[in-house]
Amino acid sequence: MERFLSRLYLALVGIFLAAPIVVVTGVSFNEKQNLAFPPQGFSLHWFAQIFSDPEWLRALIASVLLAVTSAALAVVIALPLAWFLWRRIAPWAQVFQLLGVAPFTLPPVITALGFLTFWATSGFYGQPWTAVIAHAIFFVTLPLVTLTLGFSSIDRSLTEAAATMGADDRTVFRTVVLPLILPYVVSGYAFAFVLSLNEYIVAYMTIGFVRETLPIKVFNALRYGYTPTMAAVSVLFVAVTAAVFGLIARFGDLPRLMGAMSTKD
């Protein structure tokens, strides 16, 4: 009875979580240009359109470029900071950690508006790279958190042994620390990449009037009516997002990343 009830509860929540995705997936396979569920006919036409229609393709490329570069910049900012905090006794540097976590904790509209006023005042408003920096700062929290966790999991006696054998700081980092921290670099990058790919408001407020990322394009298109192409884009997003997290889970320790064990273990 107890087992049955808990299974039932999990199943109900599962249905709630899956329902919109199931419907959108069904709609994306419609043959005609209408949103019918269950789908009428079967066609992959709407998926093909994302790659053949120049506007959708441009938005797709803009989104991927933004995500690839901003996630890389986020890691480049987070890695030295996390290393420094782990390697040195520097209480004042905690301020930067706090700054790194702040944009992600506050409502996104605040970061978005901050960047809008900043780029407008400095005269760079609308440049494509402004969105890269905005996303890197907005999502720096993710690599910062995974890397801090990664560094805390390194056994200090390993680096101490290397130092005793005569390795300098750089050699220790390259031969001992980096191989141990690499999975956390990858997962931090992956988190930032996926979130940047899906992000709307910061991208919209920085470059929205000049170019379209995929989420911006979908939202703009919503005003002119719903099409199965949007459903296909949604399915693509769900698939990419789930695949990235699936890979993190496959090659990393997801429960640990999510805090299943205390950082001191």
Binding site: E2, Y9, L10, F16, A19, P20, V23, V24, L35, A36, F37, I77, A78, P80, W83, W86, R87, R88, I89, A90, A93, F96, L99, A102, P103, T105, L106, P107, P108, V109, I110, T111, L113, G114, T117, T121, I137, V140, T159, E160, F191, L195, E199, Y200, I201, P215, V218, F219, L222, M230, A231, V238, T241, F245, G246, L254, P255, M258, A260, S262
Partner: protein, 283 residues
């Protein structure tokens, strides 16, 4: 290698780039926004440096008051509903096999990362007349004709719970997983039913986490921007929507900035409250 204080320029080098980036691209934009909130707006959408409180004075208008009250009400509703669903759910997955946990975590992370645009589009399709859930009810004979359930307050609430619930689960998850299983076992041995053990042992043991999760979910919901627009009517617009609308379409940056500063203060006060509550309950 023991931790040592950094000495000289070379040892400080690693912190310079991240420090500069965060200062220039977070502190300065934030400061710019605060400054603009005191600037004076001119006709034609421009603003000039000044120190006026007129933008903050507009908070006293009924228009702003209505939006603020609605935003807070909606965020509280979303946070409470999300927590009520998330607590038993997290408890159950935290006690399941590791493999099962990983699958749920992947699903929750995926939904949490999913663009608000896509969640909004998916729910408005699910609640639409042509492809929506009412067709299922008609097919089952429970309803006469399919109906559109959007736009409505319930639709906004559902969409936002859909987004905030995975967030609440992931905030709860670490504490739930680390919860000592012998606590419930002891309660069971002493004759408590599973449900009674859950309510009298598990929940009280996690009260700090529960309060923290509620507040985090509340802040998360305050930030929702697209769902009220896609699933609701203009009367369901939140503070985040109003800020964007003022900044981009009404060209009133100073007023938008003033509202954003207000939103920051509310959020920070709540974060401080979470920490305070945590300390007090632990003491």
């Amino acid at each position: 290698m023991r931790r040592e204080p950094a000495r000289g320029l070379v040892q400080h080098l690693p912190v310079i780039f991240p420090g500069l980036m965060l200062t220039i691209f977070f502190i300065v934009p934030f400061g710019t926004m605060v400054a603009v909130s005191f600037f004076r707006r001119q006709q034609g959408g421009f603003y000039v440096p000044d120190f006026v409180l007129a933008n903050y004075a507009r908070f006293l208008t009924p228009f702003f008051g209505n939006v603020l009250v609605f935003s807070l009400y909606l965020a509280i509703a979303v946070a409470v509903v999300s927590l009520v669903i998330a607590v038993p759910f997290t408890y159950l997955i935290a006690r399941s096999r590791r493999q099962t946990q990983v699958i749920w975590l992947v699903a929750l992370l995926s939904i949490l990362s999913l663009s608000e645009v896509i969640i909004g589009f998916a729910w408005s399709t699910l609640l639409s007349r042509t492809a929506g859930i009412t067709n299922l009810l008609v097919w089952l004979g429970l309803m006469g004709a399919p109906q559109a359930l959007v736009p409505s307050f319930e639709a906004v609430l559902t969409g936002m719970v859909y987004q905030a619930m995975p967030y609440a689960v992931l905030v709860l998850y670490p504490s739930m997983v680390r919860l000592d299983p012998t606590l419930t076992e002891a309660a069971r041995t002493l004759g408590a039913s599973p449900l009674k053990a859950f309510f009298t042992v598990v929940l009280p043991a996690l009260r700090t986490t529960l309060i923290a999760t509620l507040i985090m979910a509340f802040i998360f919901a305050l930030g929702s921007y697209l769902l009220p627009q896609i699933l609701g009517r203009p009367s369901h617009w939140t503070l985040s929507v109003l800020i964007t609308d003022q900044a981009l379409y009404q060209s009133n940056m100073p007023f938008a900035a003033a509202m954003a500063v207000f939103l920051v203060l509310v959020s920070l006060a709540l974060v401080a409250l979470t920490m305070f509550a945590g300390k007090k309950l632990e003491a």
